[in-house]
Symmetry: C2
Subunit: 207 residues, 2 copies
Amino acid sequence: MLSDATIGRLPLYLRELQQLQRQGQTRVQSGILARRLGFTDSQVRRDLSSFGSLGQRGVGYDIRGLIATIQNTLGSDRAWNVILVGVGNLGRALSGYRGFEQQGFRLVGAFDIDQSKIGMKLGQLTIQSIDAVDELIQRESVELAILSVPAAAAVQVAQKLEIAGIAGILNFAPVTVNQPRSHVTVVNVDLAVELQRLAYAVLRSKE
Amino acid sequence: MLSDATIGRLPLYLRELQQLQRQGQTRVQSGILARRLGFTDSQVRRDLSSFGSLGQRGVGYDIRGLIATIQNTLGSDRAWNVILVGVGNLGRALSGYRGFEQQGFRLVGAFDIDQSKIGMKLGQLTIQSIDAVDELIQRESVELAILSVPAAAAVQVAQKLEIAGIAGILNFAPVTVNQPRSHVTVVNVDLAVELQRLAYAVLRSKE
DNA sequence: TAGATTGTTAATCGATTAACAATC
DNA sequence: TAGATTGTTAATCGATTAACAATC
């Protein structure tokens, strides 16, 4: 019922709606959301109409209702337990990233292979050995992992997480960690890839 | 000639090809690349055929030639000067990210508003006041900026960068920084959005 | 009522895929 | 030659858009 393309945009609608709500707004129109996100108003209406009739003709959409519906769809209305695997520079930065907990993601563990890091504090958490990851995943019903280990270790660690029963991996390593017959869902964020996409777009815009 | 969808995949082909090359391979087939990236072999051939005939029927593609062609297309065969704007936790991690310079991106400046950070070292660089950004952009012909300032400051800083003549922004702030009639190209990486997309996918896979 | 904006249609546009002739 | 794999076609699938009747 919701297309893949629509789903990809839902978190962005949610973000803008929450921002409007913080600014004290209670209603919004498709054209406003479209302008803020760089979409067409047609697309916004089509996306939002996937949920049924949430708007009022001549008036617009109730922000509170929209937020509730999108959060419910995305699963952002509940808490998710998340672990961090790989406490390098990037991992450390991600562990302190405010945006995660604001959207219901709770960091409940941090893991590394490096013996010298184990036992050190990372915010409220104590960095544990990667060998202890199975136990925590089971005990805390952890469903999501943020993977920020070096590329060379990523595939192996991802396999370990899968065996331990993780359901989803946000992968920052610049390698494909999905295994062919795997049940784990993976979303990849490759920072160098994004910068290359930007460079290409800049190159083209100059022609 | 190259579709948007193809362009989005080029950096991923490049990444896998470089990895295969490091492993000593000189040739690759569409099916191999497809399996490694989770695409269909049909899609790989269609994407690569956009460049003309680079493969040999019955044999496959020459890795070196493919890399050269893709790098040339993406502009990865030349150096890009990049500045970092916003030296918080995330900015610091990004400044040390190896993947950037490996793909031809050279960090030539780091900027912040926080007076207490100005003058401090960040690797080889000295953190400068955001007020000095115009001068460096001009002097070093900086085309790309990595923007990792707090959401509340992002739009304003992005405008400043635009006026200073930056061509592209890799935006990590969870807000839309594109201005309607702007000439700046923006690629957004919203970490919370990616985690929400993952959570949604996990939710659906359990049904 | 008059003005505004949604929800939805129908057309268009773009991307993916299976299949296979071409050819190494 | 026989086997393998590309390049390309044609069909299908999915996403976007303009337009406007419905309706607040």
